[in-house]
Every structure is written in structure tokens, then in C-alpha cells.
């Protein structure tokens, strides 16, 4: 297990798009983080059921999406690309289906490389089925077996990068989030989610090593992106969602401690913190992902990205062509711009423009500001253990928000300011020890989680 006690990127000016101290070579001759930003295209089915009867149609959709995407990539002469196949529930429920689509996509990518010499790689994101039971068992049971089998079969079928949006700790975090209980959020991420990540990613890395492919990275999507979406709809305070973002970083770092090497998942907005700590490349999504969800991070998300993604888009017809092909074009043009900035030595200027354009509008965007990212990352590596790291990252993020408000870098509504007071009290009341924090979780949320699911 790796222990990160210092930052790989300690100077915020070195935290830029397209450049990672430890680039990742994978797939068909693609090196990620080597000085270029590459598109990572992701796509999904239109509204339809996935059954044995419709699986022929499912195949046709993936074949069509891949043909269109590769045709557009060739036409625009992309310098390289990553295709992400994010599995839908029936594709992990029946892992053979997921493997079949993996093989279909990989075959097309190989042929494309033979014909064009354009470097490429396939990321397969297996769906985490392990929260099917309530409370989830996580380490045992059929959903766990199927999830792990999904990785094995997809690795055999041609995946180049393995990923997942894992859900350990989410059953507690959901409850805490709904009640605005920051202590519960921090403890569920720092203790439960962190422990589950370590358990799961140790096995994913083992599978990746067995097939000589890449153990990519995870995303706190079910945690902090849920918070971001609820905040975007006015259901939660944005300041709470911002702190939750910072709190998710030690949890996602656990994958790298267990051998993941990036690129981290596109929806992991905690990615810049991971990049500063580990030096591995990250995938990000911003305005390019508005086909899947809205966010306050449209530009700033690109500031430190090594892959630039669209999250997911349905295979539906637009005026220009089908949506996945259209989004391939959109990502390619964004990457061209970033790569021109890199080629001409203007990456830092480009990064700063992307950062400055979003910061005044969103406290959540502040969490991705490179100086704040370095401060949060420093607070994580200075501490040991998931809970202490998570608590420290939230304390640092809170101070960064306070400073930004004092300096009028951004403004928030009165009701959000009232929440800042509540959150300050919550941070001050958090226990110093992991044992005490675990007792808090057992007292408050003991009915929704099983300690043994976390090896406790």
C-alpha cells in the first residue's frame, strides 16, 4: 500500500491541464498526461429497456455509436482518444453482457488504430451493484460477486482501464446529507467509504495487474455529485456541497493508495486534489457534460484536466447527427484549444482564465481553484487515516471559503451565510479520534449500515 506523505505537485502553477508528473501509457499507444489533453467520450442508450429480447438492439446502438464517434475522430484528426463504456445495471447483473459490449467496442478501437494510427484506449466502468441489499453487505453476497466478475470478464474482453463509481458508505452519507449533518458526512466518507475503497481497489488493482491493464480510479459521484445536484436545485446549501467535495478526496485517494494510477473518473471533481497528491492524470467534465447534468463548474473543471469528458450522452438524433458524434466534435474542439495553449506555453494563462471565469459565481467552483486545491491536498497528506484526513480537508476548505468571502472573491446568499455558522459549529464539534466518530455513526445511523460490511 502506498502512503502519500507529501505532494507530488506542491506548486499550484505546476497544476495545469495536460501535464502529469506520472503519465499513464495504455491501450493502443496512448499516453495520458504527456503534455496533451485528450477527449474521453462516453455514451449511453436512448430510453429503452435492456432485456434478452432487446439485446440485439443494444448491440446495434453500441455499434452505431462507435462507428459515428470514430468517423468524427478521424475526420477531425484527434491526437488520441479514450472511449468510456459505463455499464448500465443489466450489463453488470449479467456480466457476460458487459463483456460482450466491451469486446465490441475494443474490436472497433483496434481496427481504428490499425487504419489511422490514432492512439486510443477503452475505459470500462463496471456498475457497483453492492448496495442492492439494505443495509448493504458490500464484501459478500451475489451483487458483490457479480460486480467483481464484471471486472474480470471485461478485463479479459479488452478493457484497457478499469473504473467504478463505488458506493460503500453511501447508505450513511445519504442520510447525513439529507439532514445537513456535516459530521455524519465526514465520518461516513472518512471511515466507511475509505475502508470500502481500500478493500475494493485492492482487488481491482489485482485484476488489472493480472491482465496487464490499468487500474484507473474511482469517483465520489454518489456522494458529492448528489450533493452538487441537490444544491443546484435549491434543496441543499451550496456551502455544504462544497465542503462535501473536499471531504470526498481522501476517500477517492484510497484507490491510489491501493495501486490505481489514473486516469481518475471524469465525474470525480475531487480529481485535481488527487492529481496534486499523486501526480497521476485525471479525467474531468464540465460544460461538456451538460447533456447529462448541470453544474456550476463548467470552465474550471477543465483547468487541470488530462482527459476532457462529456459524462454521458444518449444515442439520439440531433440536427447535425447523433448526439455521441456531436459531443465527440465538441470535446475535440475544446481539447484543440487547450493543446494549442500547451504548445505555445500558455497553459497557465488558459488555466487561470478557466478558473477566474467560474470562481465569482460559485462556492463549489472555489474547491477546484488551484491554490485551494493545493491547500486541501496539503492538509490531507499531513494527516494519517481516512477520518483525520477527511476532517482536515473540510477544515481547510471551510477556511478557504471564509477567506474568499472576506476578500469578496465570491458572494453567497444570507441563508447560505446562516449555514456557514451552522457548519462552523459542526466542524468544531467533530471528534478528534476515529473511534469516537465511529461511535457517532453507530448512534445516529446504526440502523442503516452493518459494521461488518466494512470489516469493523
Amino acid at each position: 500500500m502506498k502512503n502519500y506523505s507529501k505532494l507530488t505537485i506542491a506548486n499550484h502553477e505546476e497544476l495545469v491541464m495536460g501535464i502529469s508528473p506520472h503519465p499513464v501509457r495504455c491501450g493502443n499507444d496512448l499516453t495520458i498526461g504527456d503534455g496533451k489533453v485528450y477527449p474521453e467520450i462516453n455514451f449511453t442508450l436512448p430510453t429503452m429497456l435492456i432485456t434478452k429480447e432487446t439485446f440485439g438492439e443494444v448491440r446495434k446502438h453500441y455499434t452505431e455509436m462507435m462507428s459515428n464517434i470514430l468517423e468524427r475522430s478521424k475526420h477531425l484528426n484527434v491526437p488520441g482518444l479514450v472511449v468510456e463504456f459505463e455499464q448500465l445495471p443489466p450489463m453488470t447483473e449479467t456480466p457476460e453482457w458487459g463483456a460482450e459490449i466491451t469486446e465490441l467496442i475494443k474490436t472497433k478501437l483496434n481496427k481504428f488504430y490499425d487504419e489511422t494510427n490514432i492512439p486510443n484506449a477503452l475505459r470500462v466502468t463496471v456498475l457497483d451493484l453492492r448496495d442492492a441489499d439494505h443495509p448493504p453487505l458490500l464484501r459478500s453476497g451475489e451483487p458483490t460477486e457479480k460486480t467483481l466478475k464484471g471486472f474480470e470478464l471485461c478485463a479479459q474482453a479488452g478493457a484497457d482501464i478499469l473504473s467504478i463509481e463505488s458506493v460503500g458508505g453511501k447508505e450513511v452519507h445519504d442520510q447525513a446529507l439529507m439532514y445537513g449533518d456535516l459530521y455524519g458526512m465526514v465520518a461516513s466518507l472518512g471511515i466507511l467509504a475509505h475502508r470500502d475503497m481500500s478493500w475494493l481497489w485492492n482487488q481491482i488493482t489485482e485484476i488489472a495487474n493480472k491482465y496487464d491493464i490499468i487500474s484507473g480510479g474511482d469517483s465520489a459521484c454518489g456522494f458529492s455529485n448528489t450533493a452538487m445536484q441537490l444544491a443546484g436545485q435549491g434543496m441543499l446549501p451550496s456551502v455544504l456541497a462544497a465542503l462535501d467535495r473536499a471531504a470526498s478526496a481522501p476517500r477517492s485517494l484510497a484507490a491510489f493508495e491501493q495501486g490505481a494510477v489514473g486516469p481518475s473518473k471524469d465525474c470525480a471533481y475531487e480529481g485535481p486534489i488527487i492529481k496534486a497528491i499523486t501526480g497521476y492524470p485525471i479525467s474531468m467534465e464540465g460544460k461538456s457534460a451538460c447533456c447529462a447534468h448541470f453544474s456550476p463548474l463548467g470552465n474550471i473543471a477543465a483547468a487541470t484536466a488530462d482527459l476532457w469528458s462529456n459524462e454521458s450522452v444518449q444515442n439520439v438524433r440531433l440536427l447535425s447527427g447523433n448526439a455521441p458524434e456531436a459531443f465527440m466534435e465538441l470535446l475535440t474542439y475544446d481539447c484543440r484549444l487547450y493543446n494549442t495553449a500547451l504548445d505555445e506555453g500558455n497553459a497557465l494563462m488558459m488555466r487561470n482564465m478557466l478558473v477566474k471565469s467560474d470562481i465569482p459565481h460559485s462556492v463549489e467552483a472555489l474547491m477546484l481553484e488551484p491554490k485551494v486545491v493545493i491547500e486541501i491536498a496539503q492538509s490531507i497528506v499531513k494527516n494519517k487515516g481516512g477520518y483525520n484526513q477527511t476532517k482536515a480537508s473540510v477544515q481547510t476548505a471551510f477556511t478557504a471559503i471564509e477567506n474568499a468571502l472576506q476578500q469578496n472573491v465570491l458572494s453567497i446568499s444570507n441563508i447560505e451565510r446562516e449555514w456557514m455558522d451552522k457548519l462552523k459549529k459542526a466542524i468544531d464539534a467533530m471528534a478528534d479520534s476515529e473511534e469516537e466518530a465511529l461511535d457517532y455513526l453507530k448512534t445516529m445511523y446504526g440502523d442503516v449500515f452493518k459494521p461488518e460490511a466494512y470489516g469493523l
Partner: protein
């Protein structure tokens, strides 16, 4: 409204569960919804008056604040928690039929879908709003909704889905429900949905936020 009922209503609105609860800080050490409801019953105030002239008013006020952007979901759920503490004292009166709940509501995430935070928010807000909620959990097949409806024939049904590949299960489930019980109201919610989709599958409505939904239910119940 008597002083006691007004005080109780404030406890609901502000989420003061009981004397021990530290929240909200300015009410620390004061009696909460738990103690005040018991006190109201001891003083002979009718359970129906407690429910309608105090508890529901507190819930409505926090709901209105939410709609005006002056409160968040945690404020509503903490209010619902205080409401539940009060309702525990009224339970014998519900069981005897002296006081009636708003009605039964069956809720679940459709087959193939494990997402449940939106469904859980709606469940908690409805419970706090005086509904008897039967939560079937996630990955609920059409048969299960129909079977539960047989136990609660007057219930409304709410379904949630977050995936474009599971939302079509709502059509299957709505058809199954309407086939056995054409008058049952079926509601849908979830990120990829719309009123158009609800109309298309024969459901009775789509609601993007829980407070608007509870107001709609109050109007049709």
C-alpha cells in the same frame, strides 16, 4: 390558537424534537415537540386540533419557506423529525380512528434501479406531512407494487427512476396498477423524467420537488 399549540407549531417549524435535542441552538433546553404534544393531550386538547391547528401548520410554514428559497431540505426533514416525535403521541388516536392520517402512500424505486435518495426525501417529507408511507425500497418490480396496493387499496403510488434505461419500467408498472385499479393515482419522479413522459405512460403526474408534490396531494386527497 392557544399559546401551547402555537409553541408546538414553532417546534415543528424549527425542528425542535425534544428537550434534549441541541437543535436549534436558540431553543436549547426548552421543551420540544415530544413534550409539548404530551402536555397538550394531558390538558385535554383534542388530538385532531393538535394535528390540524398546530403540527400541520408548522409543517406548512417550513414548506412555504422552502418554496420561497428561505429553507433547504434538511430544514424540512428536521421539521419532519419533530413531527414524527409528536405523531408518536397521537398514534393511539389514529389506530382507534378518532383522528385520521392523510392517507396511504406506496413508494418505491422501479425495477433495475438502485437510486433512492430522491425517493427517500419524498418519503420523509410525506411522513412528516401526515401520510402513512409504505416504502418498498429499490429495484421494485410491478408485481410488488400491485401486491402492496391490494393491502392498501386506497393508497396513492409514487415511483422513482434515475436512468433512461429504467424509466420505461414506470410504464410497465403504471399499466399493471391501472389494470387492477384504474382509479389509483400514480405519480412519478426522477432526474430524466418530465410531465410529458408522465402523460405518455398514463401516470397522473410528475413532480420535481417534494413540497409541490405534498401540496398537490393535499389538494386531491
Amino acid at each position: 390558537m392557544s399559546d401551547l399549540l402555537e409553541k408546538l407549531s414553532i417546534c415543528i417549524e424549527r425542528g425542535k424534537v425534544n428537550e434534549q435535542s441541541p437543535f436549534p441552538p436558540d431553543l436549547k433546553g426548552e421543551l420540544g415537540a415530544d413534550e409539548l404534544t404530551k402536555q397538550a393531550l394531558d390538558e385535554g386538547i383534542a388530538p385532531e386540533a393538535i394535528l390540524n391547528e398546530s403540527l400541520m401548520i408548522g409543517m406548512r410554514k417550513v414548506g412555504d419557506k422552502f418554496e420561497e428559497g428561505k429553507a433547504f431540505i434538511p430544514d424540512m426533514l428536521i421539521a419532519a423529525k419533530a413531527m414524527n416525535a409528536a405523531m408518536a403521541h397521537l398514534k393511539p388516536f389514529f389506530e382507534s380512528g378518532e383522528v385520521e392520517l392523510k392517507g396511504d402512500f406506496i413508494i418505491g424505486t422501479v425495477a433495475g434501479d438502485l437510486h433512492d435518495i430522491g425517493k427517500n426525501i419524498v418519503r420523509m417529507v410525506l411522513t412528516g406531512g401526515g401520510w402513512n408511507v409504505i416504502d418498498l425500497g429499490t429495484d421494485v418490480k410491478a408485481d410488488k407494487f400491485v401486491e402492496t396496493l391490494q393491502q392498501y387499496p386506497n393508497a396513492h403510488v409514487g415511483m422513482s427512476a434515475l436512468l433512461t434505461t429504467t424509466m420505461m419500467q414506470m410504464e410497465t408498472t403504471t399499466k399493471a396498477i391501472k389494470e387492477v385499479s384504474p382509479n389509483t393515482k400514480v405519480y412519478v419522479g426522477g432526474a430524466p423524467l418530465s410531465q410529458d413522459f408522465s402523460d405518455k405512460i398514463g401516470a397522473d403526474g410528475y413532480f420535481p420537488d417534494p413540497n409541490k408534490f405534498i401540496k398537490h396531494l393535499a389538494a386531491v386527497a
